[in-house]
Symmetry: none
Subunit: 235 residues, 2 copies
DNA sequence: TCGGGGCGTGAGGGATGCGTGAAGACCTGC
DNA sequence: GCAGGTCTTCACGCATCCCTCACGCCCCGA
């Protein structure tokens, strides 16, 4: 059955969405916070995600970014905010559609159908990546080494996520800086050196050997960690 | 270049869309009727279709249906009508999004990016080139020989890319130097000798035999690697 | 047959960029 | 206001890469 994940903190909206969706034959999972939403997107593997932007814990675009780290599930944003820059930010973060509250249920259902119709066939890529004794849980933003959870700073995790979600690909300095630090960056290669070093240290990687992160001099870095357990390439 | 087909009969909207889209680097084709729109969708093969619902000749949903008969191109509907049943009809007919006039141009551009991003996976050109035991992955900037990743310096890779992307074509010294080293170069054939040698060595090619890189004395070089087809590692 | 230009080969100097270590600036929660 | 953690910045060896030069070979024309 088609499964829809609803992430919203307003009881009224939650009830209305659940009722209407179930009446149309969808299986519905409802959670109330952004953190729960990201986890549910990983665990429940829904076919569609309806996301409220005004969540209490996380910014909406942040939720989209985290979900997009491990799944291509269609995301429709529901929001009371009608400002253009909110829509642009959400859509560019990876959302598929943006509906302003209050919305008509028939329209929402039609947009949901359109989004799911377009969706690519679901690839069962597990949000848990393993590289020997290293585990990266993209949904929980958790990194485990030798059974022990590692503490990564936000920047370190952002860098790791950028690397592991683009395996074997040469990521240029500029690309990494823009992705992890923001659009205004692109030349600060000393940042990269510092954080790549910190990551290597925490992951137990060695700059000299080609273990996990390979340096491509003058160009960028590349994640070459061999995934263990399960299928590999995720194109 | 990304091509956008605009189907609208209002001169004001046409001008505004053309200006904004071209300012953002899109190639724009504009027609004024539904019949023309369907034909242009087939002939011009656009990457995105912006469709006004209030056309003089055909009903908007009919245009969508006809277009959908032969292409999966993303369709965004522009309409003055805000009624739910119009949106539902358009979306269920095969549209990907529905924007009500008057709309903000930034929002429209963001929705266009989202629609095209989702359609992107049907990329028919796998950038993985194979020549016997040599693989060149242009997307990942990865070169593999006998199952082992090769380490190429930026200049070496730039030269290889120039050669591989112009197979069987005679590339002059000047052309190669300008492409790999920059506009200010053109006479430094010693650079080419040095780097062609390094490339041949790493690729396992032999200058004497005509394996991969052929020397055209006094003129330039030519890539003659025979592409082999077969099961690639990315399936 | 001889000479010269172009090419392949090998090696080396200089500059760039990287890894490393450390320290100050900043921010955030208590 | 304070303390801990985090981000940014700097200096210093060192490996790597780009560029350069010298030499011998082959092909081609005189």
């Amino acid at each position: 059955m088609t499964k829809v994940l609803v992430v919203d903190d307003e009881p009224q909206i939650r009830r209305a969405l659940r009722t209407s969706l179930e009446a149309h034959g969808y299986e519905v999972v409802v959670v109330g916070t952004g953190e729960e939403g990201v986890l549910a997107a990983a665990d429940a593997m829904p076919d569609l995600l309806l996301l409220d932007l005004g969540l209490p814990d996380l910014d909406g675009t942040e939720v989209i970014r985290r979900v997009r780290a491990f799944t291509e599930v269609p995301v429709i944003v529901l929001s009371v905010r009608d400002a253009q820059h909110d829509k642009v930010a959400a859509l560019d973060a990876g959302a598929d559609d943006y509906v302003t509250k209050p919305f008509g249920m028939e329209e929402l259902l039609a947009r949901a159908r359109a989004a799911m119709r377009r969706a690519a066939p679901e690839d069962p890529a597990p949000p848990l990546l393993r590289y020997g004794e290293l585990e990266v849980d993209l949904a929980r933003r958790l990194v485990i080494r030798d059974g022990q959870a590692l503490h990564l700073t936000p920047t370190e995790y952002g860098l790791l996520e950028a690397l592991v979600t683009n395996p074997d690909k040469l990521l240029t300095h500029q690309w990494l800086l823009r992705r992890v630090w923001g659009q205004g960056y692109g030349t600060e290669t000393t940042y990269l050196r510092t954080y790549v070093r910190a990551l290597r240290k925490k992951l137990g990687d060695d700059a000299a050997r080609q273990g996990l992160i390979v340096t491509e001099p003058g160009v960028g870095y590349r994640w070459v960690g061999e995934p263990t357990f399960g299928a590999s390439s995720t194109d």
